[in-house]
Symmetry: C2
Subunit: 400 residues, 2 copies
Amino acid sequence: MDKRYEDMWTSSLAERTKRLTRSVIRELLKVAQDPTVISFAGGWPAPELFPKREVEEACRYLLPRQGEVLLQYGATEGVKPLKEFLAKKSGKYGIPAEPENILLTCGSQQALDLLGKVFINEGDRILVTAPTYLGAIQAWRLYGPEFVTCGMDDNGVLIEDVEKVLKDGPVKFMYMLPNFHNPAGVTIPLERRKRLAQLAEEYNTFIIEDDPYGELRYEGEDIASIISLKKERVIYLATFSKTLTPGLRLGWILAPEFILQKIIQAKQGADLHTGTFVQYIANDLCQRGILKAHVAKLREAYKERRDVMLQSMEKYFPEDAKWTHPEGGLFLWVTLPKHIDTKILYQKAMEYKVAFVPGFAFYPTEGGGKNNMRLNFSNTLPDKMEEGIKRLGDLLKKEL
Amino acid sequence: MDKRYEDMWTSSLAERTKRLTRSVIRELLKVAQDPTVISFAGGWPAPELFPKREVEEACRYLLPRQGEVLLQYGATEGVKPLKEFLAKKSGKYGIPAEPENILLTCGSQQALDLLGKVFINEGDRILVTAPTYLGAIQAWRLYGPEFVTCGMDDNGVLIEDVEKVLKDGPVKFMYMLPNFHNPAGVTIPLERRKRLAQLAEEYNTFIIEDDPYGELRYEGEDIASIISLKKERVIYLATFSKTLTPGLRLGWILAPEFILQKIIQAKQGADLHTGTFVQYIANDLCQRGILKAHVAKLREAYKERRDVMLQSMEKYFPEDAKWTHPEGGLFLWVTLPKHIDTKILYQKAMEYKVAFVPGFAFYPTEGGGKNNMRLNFSNTLPDKMEEGIKRLGDLLKKEL
């Protein structure tokens, strides 16, 4: 393109675009697309387990009967029977919800963006863990907040860090992934959840509780969600991407009706509404009990993959490597000796035909996660898992 | 909700939410849901014409064969064969495009929001027609621009108004709906399009060309799009919502690759990507020639509806009422004597069991459109059309 046009476009960009970044993971994934690479890099569910037949059944049943509704515009709030189902389901998990508390979104990613739009002023302090979900950083950075970070241990966020941040000055909200944290794979026990809810009350702030993996628990007991402990101060995010399929792009926000109205207004300007068609398909799978059965199937399959990964790591990883033992979800988090830089290690891993995500990608500020990596176990077949971990182990033994 | 919680949520809202508004139309539509009301208010396509069977065929064919891809995450840019199809199709319309110039969005509404995000700083002057598409106002108002308006006649935007605005000071961009304008129903002839492209060049700015209805022409010849006249200075928006079905939520942005990369980054943070499933369905309908056949069918059906509406208006409307004669699209625009306030008229129309959108809804600033109304003809069956227009005519005769 001619320089003067390029200059025109560049100078037309809004100030906020200086904060735009491409997802590191998506860039890495492109590199890892070589089919001979065993990739633990993505966060993708297992495609061979997708309920293909059940989705097809839904289409065959619904289109001739309700095609006029499925293919038409719909309400911004979302499709009513699906909202009713989700409200009822939430109730079973101890989360008090009416359909009026629920807004369907294009995946949880859109929920994060809408929350950024509705809440974040430039310079707002936002409390996050370090590491944290990189999609949240990407969505929110555009709105110009200051990310203030808290450390974690095997029980999730460190409460003393949270207290310190809150004492330092007001935060707009706290962002938490209590179940099977992405990328850390750790879960916050009940006592800490209670403390977080208390601290939100004490410091007059609120919590965004992001729970994409909560239903994918492979051992131990379910723990009460933070929203069930203090519903007035929590916005809860969930999604069908991990429990059903991501290709439908369906998630939902559960929030006090009063504030949800504002989020709905933002959603209306953002894309009018979430696709009617995909909402009706999801609703059909929910109402027919397919969701429930499918989650049970995933629990079994992913548990096996997690177990094979953990066993293989015991077998092939050098002693200096440490890792978390997730009770559910899709990820675990490896900590290597301090002199290792996983960004450099990633390049070498390509030669070993194995991929992971270097830890730095999950830190909102520079310098974190240098000697960490995230491994995904949902998207690798068990019979390839050991080989992949062996390759990575061979590399680590050479480098450590 | 307890007052202290309400206060906390209210005080947590970002500054920009003061500019959030609910769509007037969507509120009006709720009133008009009484099935005895004949509504010309919505902008909805005819549901009885939706390609239900063809969508079902696509699902039945694709899910067993490519279910793993259809239901998985996908690239932010969009599904490749669909982008290739759209690039080729654009070429046929004289719009030079490669797949790299195309980004799939969740309807054109998301395109508008992404463009606001990427380009609009608070206080930026944006040139729009008055009236203009209200979804654009809704999406962009959040980013705090100043809307500067230009008048229209039966040939669309007044070039002298555009020149005046450009002379007054720099504008970030000009927003144009050249074909069958929503709400005005008018089309910009080639000469004015050329002038707009020249003016963009002269004043070193760019044009957003929004073209949701371009394919729905019922008489006359296609006119070259502005992007085909000056591709370096135009971002072009199109959608499947009017030509196929809105329930899939699929639109696309065509832009210089250089700037599209920025928009893709914004899209990634906004919702990762547009649904893989619906993109593959649309692709199947495109590749099988269904889109083309369906557009031909819609042209015929909507032409009839337009004709019946126009003939009925001649028959039943009082002499003092004037209206546009759209060559395509979904809408026409009525101008009533100055003493009429269509906001008040709307309430009375409810008693007559007929609905329209009062003109004020399409003005970014207060005071415009007081004596105007928009009528939609795509969503009313021909045999109800005359009765609806008769009801409205009866009311008008009483009020004028």
